[in-house]
């Protein structure tokens, strides 16, 4: 028997008798499980999720659920096939033992695996002051339970809602508040909404859109403190917010929409390449260990994955997009049960959407990779347009406002690294097609990334080690 046959036999045996554990029971976890069974994996499949719910879809939470049209428990994802899986819901994974190949659970159980998938995603960044965060009426939005609680608070008819942060989700929530006829203030540290994802040029348009719909948008402002009643107290129900310009706002509901934190803590000590941006993996979804060496049995998918992308100078990208979870999960699943020569890469063309203030915002590529923008179609005044982002003379991203049918056209150009500014489309050209700076915030802002240091003098002992920074 030659080596190739030996390996093929081992893979075939694993496919029929192996054990796979998926940690994370949301979109990526579910789709990975389905793809594993589609690939013919007949072994034991365990799906671990810290929430007690069956996998559900998150995008509706900040839109139709918050508005009260669709109940929060009406968001379960369709399960496209029989899974025959052991669901461990409502119990978090707390550790990964790579030597004994076991996942440790919060209830003390240990689940053995031959291969495993990390799909633990992200959680909402909480309000920075824990005492204030504990005030009644202070919310974040990530889970279905968060959405149900926030929806009930909006239904109670608060005098004013304060949304801190105006990324896509913060902006969507502001839109819902206005649709419900609620007074809403949006406090944004940057100069305008959506600047992190889309830059300052589009941010200005988004700001106008918010103000036209009656949002009290305060940009360049941070919220310094939340207070309960009576004045100055830090218990009970939130009643006031103190802004960095000295203003004091009367508020009854505060939503901290401050972005997400990747759920990597449970992997502490596992020796994987984890950090602020998630778990690094190759384009085939195999995790890197702390030294940057690829592992054989640990795969990563969804919001927590961070992989090099050919279109973007092979930089490691973390993509918190819906179809990155769907497509990444399918690739990870295939590669878990295939021979090396049959492995496939996960090379998504990033795509996203956001419905807010009656406008459908869709994007393709990585807009923030660009440093210039050009409006290529339509009219920004009418909020019906397409814009392309470029860097070094090539197109790297595009965004449309109520012009989604054109997105494919731009996606195809991004895939073939077409020149920037792109050739003018034959339709709907704006008067001015001059590229201008896209105005993204400086990416060199400090983050909570742990320092990784090299240790060992002997070349055979060289290795990386985490030296987490002390909390300041």
């Amino acid at each position: 028997m030659n080596t190739a046959t030996l390996i093929a036999d081992a893979v075939s045996t694993f496919k029929s008798e192996g054990r796979i554990v998926i940690v994370g029971a949301s979109l990526a976890g579910l789709r990975a499980a389905e793809a594993l069974r589609d690939e013919g994996f007949d072994g034991q499949l365990t799906i671990i999720g810290d929430e007690r719910h069956q996998p559900y879809d998150r995008p509706p939470l900040s839109k139709q659920v918050l508005k009260g049209w669709v109940p929060a428990d009406h968001t379960e994802l369709p399960q496209m096939r029989e899974l025959d899986a052991d669901w461990r819901l409502g119990v978090a994974a707390v550790g990964l033992d790579r030597v004994n190949m076991e996942v440790h659970l919060a209830d003390g159980d240990k689940v053995p695996f031959g291969r495993m998938l990390i799909a633990t995603g992200t959680r909402a960044r909480q309000w920075f002051n824990p005492k204030e965060a504990a005030l009644e009426g202070v919310f974040t939005l990530r889970t279905r339970d968060d959405a149900a609680r926030l929806q009930a608070a909006l239904m109670a008819g608060p005098g004013r809602v304060l949304i801190v942060g105006s990324g896509f989700i913060g902006s969507e929530m502001a839109s819902v508040c206005r649709e419900l006829g609620l007074a809403v203030t949006v406090a944004e540290r940057a100069d305008a909404p959506l600047v992190g994802a889309l830059g300052g040029v589009i941010g200005e348009i988004a700001a106008e859109m918010q103000r036209d719909h009656g949002v009290d948008l305060r940009s360049g402002i941070s919220v310094e403190a939340l207070e309960g009643a009576p004045e100055g107290s830090s218990s009970g129900h939130v009643r006031r917010a103190r802004l960095s310009d000295g203003t004091v706002l009367d508020v009854d509901v505060v939503v901290a929409s401050l972005g997400s934190i990747r759920n990597i803590e449970w992997l502490e000590g596992a020796g994987l390449a984890t950090g602020f941006w998630g778990v690094a993996c190759d384009a085939g979804c195999r995790a890197f260990d702390i030294n940057g060496v690829v592992t054989d049995n640990i795969f990563v998918a969804g919001d927590i994955a961070r992989a090099p992308h050919v279109l973007y100078n092979y930089e490691f990208l973390s993509l918190e997009h819906w179809d990155n979870a769907v497509l990444g999960a399918a690739v990870a699943a295939r590669n878990m049960v295939r021979l090396e020569t049959d492995r496939v890469p996960h090379l998504p063309l990033p795509s996203f959407w956001s419905g807010q203030f009656g406008v459908n915002i869709k994007g393709v590529g990585v807009c923030s990779f660009g440093d210039e923008i050009v409006i290529t179609q339509g009219s920004t005044k009418e909020r019906r347009f397409a814009a392309a982002y470029g860097r070094d003379g090539r197109i790297v991203g595009a965004v449309t406002f109520n012009h989604g049918k054109w997105l494919e056209y731009y996606g195809a150009m991004i895939e073939r690294s077409a020149p920037f500014p792109p050739p003018p489309p034959g339709y709907d050209r704006p008067a001015d097609m001059t590229p201008v700076p896209a105005r993204f915030p400086d990416p060199r802002v400090p983050t909570g990334t742990p320092d990784v240091v090299l240790t060992g003098h002997d070349p055979t002992e060289r290795g990386a080690e985490f030296r987490p920074r002390k909390e300041r």
């Binding site: 509706p60 139709q64 009406h74 994802l77 496209m80 899974l83 959407w353």
Partner: protein, 67 residues
Amino acid sequence: MRIVVDLNRCQGYAQCVPLARDVFRLHGEEALMYDPNPDDSQRQRVLRAAAACPVQAILLEPLGAPE
């Protein structure tokens, strides 16, 4: 029943809206909102809406799948 619409794929043709008004709605001109878990009584309407979608963006759970 459980459905999901791939809103990357959806281009706002809105063919689904008149076929199942209780399940699909437009928010503005082209942003689709929908009920991911409509009542089973909507099944025929949702099936028609899914079949009518020009970009096949509506995914339905197959009948008999585990609840």
